[in-house]
Subunit: 403 residues, 2 copies
């Protein structure tokens, strides 16, 4: 499916932070950016190099999907008619029933969606994989197979995620332990108060397991307003006590969008280097993006589920997600749209801990070319990806995965 990792020279592209529009070239070898700049324009390509004329396209770094559920998606399947009830627990129960009876294959589905992500320019991705007492590690095994199959191009982190609860479903803790042993990168968690019913016990169990494996944590916190803030403070106490600064992500964090005075909590989040993930849902409160960025909090973006039994929405297109983030926060100025793009690029890499990210010499060569005047234009127009390079390999052209 992927080209050999031959050296690569891309000429005649533009950098979004250079308003002069001066054409630059990028040389790539061994999966890394060797050099990038105008002086390369007249260089002879290295022997055996693939040379690509960028045709004046805008050069962007490979995109980062900060939170999705590859194992759940129905991407590429016949349309799933959603008749599910409105509550979180309805959706959890419906999905467990569907998965038991439908023959849904997490390996096949995660591969199909990963291919679509690559074709649209995403080269780093964090996925939450359900671990529960019905399925055991079955979904994890499917996603691990996809990670292996795409290891040369897609940098994937797997979160072992107790979608059906941890304490309320005895046996789940042991399965999470097994999942980390089997290769999951991050320990997940879910609403310690409103799902598990015991915020202290649930958080203690989560932090203890993460500590045992030396793994970071990514917790889904849907809990609203004051109860969410209560749980958040318990979590921060544990980050501080256990030295987990810089190793915890709180996903969704709706509560931070609904507190009358969140400043003290936000300042503590910044101090403890806890990162925030938002899918920027238009129907829920969301963490205050600009205030978080001003305080130095890493806040980044993701789809959450994509076309699954939970939701019909979502697309493996992080430019579209950046646009939705921009719309959610009413970002209209070009400099504000750059912040929306940051959520699906550098801030995503920072929040997840993806190494060697960006458009600089020595970074992993993850590159996307689009026909757009400016970065803001790319976000709102979401043009087809002319070329996608992942870890130094050409993986897609004109939106279509390379053979």
């Amino acid at each position: 499916m992927i080209s050999a990792a031959r050296p690569l020279l891309i000429t005649n592209v533009r950098l979004s932070d250079d308003p002069s529009g001066q054409p630059v070239s990028v040389s790539v070898a061994g999966g890394r950016i060797e050099a990038i700049g105008p002086k390369l324009a007249n260089l002879a390509p290295p022997p055996a190099a693939i040379v690509e004329d960028g045709g004046g396209a805008l050069l962007l770094p490979g995109f980062v999907e900060g939170h999705t559920h590859l194992d759940k998606t129905l991407w590429g399947q016949d349309w799933y008619v959603n008749e599910v009830g409105p509550n979180l627990t309805d959706r959890i129960a419906n999905e467990r029933a569907f998965r038991k009876t439908s023959g849904h294959d997490a390996g096949v589905q995660s591969l199909a969606l990963s291919h679509a992500f690559l074709a649209a320019g995403t080269t780093r991705l964090r996925t939450h994989v359900d671990i529960d007492t019905d399925a055991g590690l079955r979904y994890l095994e499917g996603v691990l197979a996809t990670r292996d199959a795409l290891a040369e191009v897609l940098d994937m982190q797997i979160v072992a995620f107790p979608q059906s609860g941890l304490l309320i479903r005895p046996g789940t803790g042991k399965l999470l332990d097994d999942a980390l042993a089997a290769g999951a990168d991050v320990l997940g968690a879910l609403d310690p108060a409103l799902i598990d019913g015991d915020p202290v016990g649930s958080l203690d169990a989560t932090f203890a397991l993460a500590e045992r494996y030396g793994k970071p944590i990514d917790i889904h916190l849907h809990e609203p307003g004051e109860i969410g803030a209560f749980t958040f403070k318990l979590l921060l106490d544990r980050v501080e006590a256990l030295g987990m600064q810089g190793r915890v992500v709180v996903s969704h964090a709706f509560c931070l969008g609904a507190l009358p005075e969140p400043t003290a909590l936000l300042e503590r989040i910044a101090r403890l280097r806890v990162a925030l993930l938002t899918s920027a849902p238009p129907s829920r409160p969301v963490p205050p993006l600009k205030r978080c960025r001003e305080l130095g909090i890493t806040i980044f973006g993701g789809n959450d589920g994509i076309r699954d039994t939970w939701t019909p929405y979502g697309a493996p297109d992080m430019l579209e997600r950046a646009m939705l983030i921009g719309m959610r926060y009413d970002l209209r100025r070009d400099d504000d749209l750059a912040a929306a793009f940051d959520c699906v690029s550098a801030a995503g890499a920072q929040g997840c801990g993806f190494a060697d990210y960006g458009l600089h010499a020595g970074a992993r060569a993850d590159l996307v070319l689009v026909d757009a005047d400016t970065l803001a234009h790319a976000v709102v127009a979401r043009p087809v990806r002319k070329l996608v390079v992942a870890n130094g390999r050409i993986v897609a052209r004109d939106g279509v995965l390379a053979e």
Copy 2:
């Protein structure tokens, strides 16, 4: 640009409300749907008819854009770098300055965006055109030229809109009068309290002018919460007193999303058959869609501005707008997504008063074919439009305007 209005037979398409997926045919003559149904499948086409094999596509009615600003758009131009301040008045002042100095041509721009709307399946459209003391009727003249140029295919309503205020900018009332005389279909208005500073005086002037010309009204009401509700009640008093039931649209109506107890107001809106337009902005309160529909209020959708000095967002794709409406209201079930689609189709036609709308014999032949399993699938996947028929003429294929 458009094919002659020859009879047309489209075979092998599916109806979204028929889960059997049984193929049907549609015969079209004189710009109207003659017949639609499975029995046509084996009919010989009428003499000289164009025959199109729908290839199993889903058949949808032409889409309705309920609120846009064709005269403002920068669609197809070089990217406009937005550095505008955050307030409504900043945006109004910035746009007036831009239009004075940039050579922006409302005729050229409205035609470009109308073409894009047609290519993406919109066949009926209501556009608000700025009338102000700087430009007089200049933008209106440009949009009237576009309406004339596309009269055979695009059913366009023009709202004469005092974007810079009515009472606060003396001379505007006379210009609105001239605009209605020159061919505008609807009288617009803007924030009678918070822009004009005199809700009674502003509404009285608007209703008097509408009455003089026998024209309907479409008012932009951004006023929030209690002040918005106050203005809304004054407006309803005038609808009732002047017999304007069924002839007034309130656009945006953010206030209806922020009142603790809107039921009495909503019931009066329903009783007076005032319709509501929403662009479903994710960062603002919005009227309660389901409650409105339950009460029998016509609520429909539009982009508002598309890529102009106000906003970088928007696209001439009403399936995308339906998706954004669905996301804003957290509509996940297929039956709820059908309501989102209704906002950009039948409810839009009802709210604007576009005649002979729909997929039935005698309706104007406005048809869109897409490759999608179901209506909900079409809304979230927004597939390329395989075929667009407007007023019985083929106007676009595979997303591209016909020659």
